[in-house]
Amino acid sequence: MSRILATAASEFRIALRNRWVAIALVLMAVFSLVLSFAGSAPSGGLGADRLSVTVASLTSLAVYLVPLLALLMSFDAVAGEVERGTLPLLLTYPVSRAEVLLGKLAAHLGILALAMTLGYGLAAGVTFAFDARSVEGLPALWRLGWSSVALGATFLGAGYAVSAIARRPSGAAGLAIGLWLGLVVLYDLALLAAVVADNGGWFTTEAFPFALLANPADAFRLFNLAASGASGVSGGVGGAASVIPVWQSLVPVLLWPAAAMSLAILAFRRVTP
């Protein structure tokens, strides 16, 4: 445990010096503030409190931003050590490869959690200033918070795996961007195209909900929309959110972080220094 903490402390310091902490905090704060001002305008006719509406908007933001930040922070984790030549020495220390990755995860996840606390906190503050009924939306905000951390852990793990597989920072960066585009943007477009082509057939009714749950980003979105019952204020995936029970979307949200980290540790074990 002390070895994990030692690694986490050093990684946090490095991220601070590399401005990753500042970048994550500023990005989350700016986007959350923009959304909480812009996104609360049309809420009047829907009967929901302003915070629930803002949480729905923040969910859409988090789906894009959290994986991106996580991948940007993690793609260098193993490949960077290989390139700098620091890995052989590190691996002669009495520390396991799993401990090294868990230490990095603790630091990076801490930074993401800090950025989210700031971003979501600011958004909630703005909402409260305009609507006292916003208290009703607090459970949804809390759910968004911890599930965002889980989403971050998933993509940090995926980033470490990509980093260990590529072994070069440039290759790892390319793979990380590809992974982000694939899972966050193209996957949904592909599903949309399939649903349109299928025209209400077996794929749309049977396979589509599970295809959504198989993707960590979509599972996160489904879970937050389904749990908050806010599907009324969000289009698109919102339709599916009303079909799938909350527990079914909760399972992938909780399983993906462990799966991604296991994959990362396996990939890291295959790296020969």
Partner: protein
């Protein structure tokens, strides 16, 4: 006394290329052993196997009574890589605190370690601003953490100036006196400066020579060179009196086997007045090293 490092019949092949062939050696506690060889002779490969970073193809390696790379072995072995590299964003002190904590030691010892390698003044500067020699010292400082029983040092003196090199060997002497076994590599015999107890020469993955510098010098049996300075114009006469000698200007050059050295010296002394001066040049460290490292496969 049981040895700290035991290697028997070690062979390593990379996709058909044999990097190490049937190498056997031992290093006892308190012993300083130098591993010499050209680039690509197999020094770094052997060190990586000892450290458990890569597996051996054949043979047995035992480090402090444990398998290489096992937690038990890693706790007792320190390593200094060939080009010691660290994260440029951390300061020397932060980096050492990190390593101390990984070994379960008190991180407060970082500044004392940096003082010990002469980096006290730069402790709070980022490693990104360090010179190669300073990074090498950080590498050395981390290798001193927690009284290791075996130190594996890959070309430790390569970035150091002559004064730092002396300091470095003084540190090694102190460690060896405490019972640490030291295995260090170098690509030149001059760099180890005869400050080691035993020398191993690797060539093309094979151990071609082993022994103290005196042993190696004796068994190499390289010829001794002599330069005789002749007194006005006697150079040709001197050259004629000594078999195999060549006169060039006022100088006479000749070489002879170790066993004939005293005999030849006697003859030169017998020339009396004709000789102004005599210089005897024993084979240099470089000569001895190339003798062994070229014998096999080159």
């Amino acid at each position: 006394m049981t040895s700290t490092l035991t290697i028997s019949g070690l062979t390593k092949r990379f996709e058909g290329v044999t990097a190490l062939a049937d190498v056997s050696l031992t290093v006892a506690p308190g012993e300083r052993v130098a591993l010499l060889g050209h680039n690509g002779a197999g020094k770094s490969t052997m060190m990586k196997i000892i450290l458990g970073l890569i597996p051996a193809t054949e043979g047995r390696v035992e480090v402090c009574g444990a398998a290489p790379g096992s937690p038990e072995a890693r706790r007792q072995v320190a390593y200094l890589p060939e080009n010691a590299a660290f994260h440029p964003a951390l300061t020397g002190e932060e980096q050492l605190r990190h390593y101390l904590r990984l070994r379960g030691e008190d991180p407060a010892g970082a500044s004392a370690l940096l003082e010990r390698v002469g980096l006290g003044g730069a402790a709070r500067r980022r490693i990104g601003t360090y010179s190669k020699g300073m990074r090498q010292r950080v590498g050395l400082a981390q290798a001193l953490i927690g009284h290791p029983r075996l130190l594996v040092l890959d070309e430790p003196t390569s970035g150091l100036d002559p004064v730092s090199r002396r300091d470095f060997y003084a540190l090694l002497d102190a460690l060896a006196a405490e019972g640490a076994a030291i295995l260090l590599s170098s690509h030149a015999l001059t760099e180890v400066e005869a400050r080691t107890d035993r020398i191993l020469i690797l060539s093309g993955g094979r151990l071609v020579a082993e022994g103290s510098l005196t042993d190696l010098r004796r068994s190499a049996a390289l010829p001794v060179a002599m330069h005789v300075t002749a007194r006005n114009g006697h150079a040709v006469q001197i050259a004629a009196a000594l078999p195999g000698a060549i006169a060039a200007g006022g100088l006479v050059h000749l070489t002879c086997a170790q066993s004939e050295k005293l005999d030849v010296l006697g003859r030169i002394a017998g020339l009396g007045d004709k000789v102004a001066d005599l210089e005897v040049l024993p084979p240099s460290l470089e000569d001895i090293y190339s003798h062994y490292s070229r014998r096999d496969g080159q």
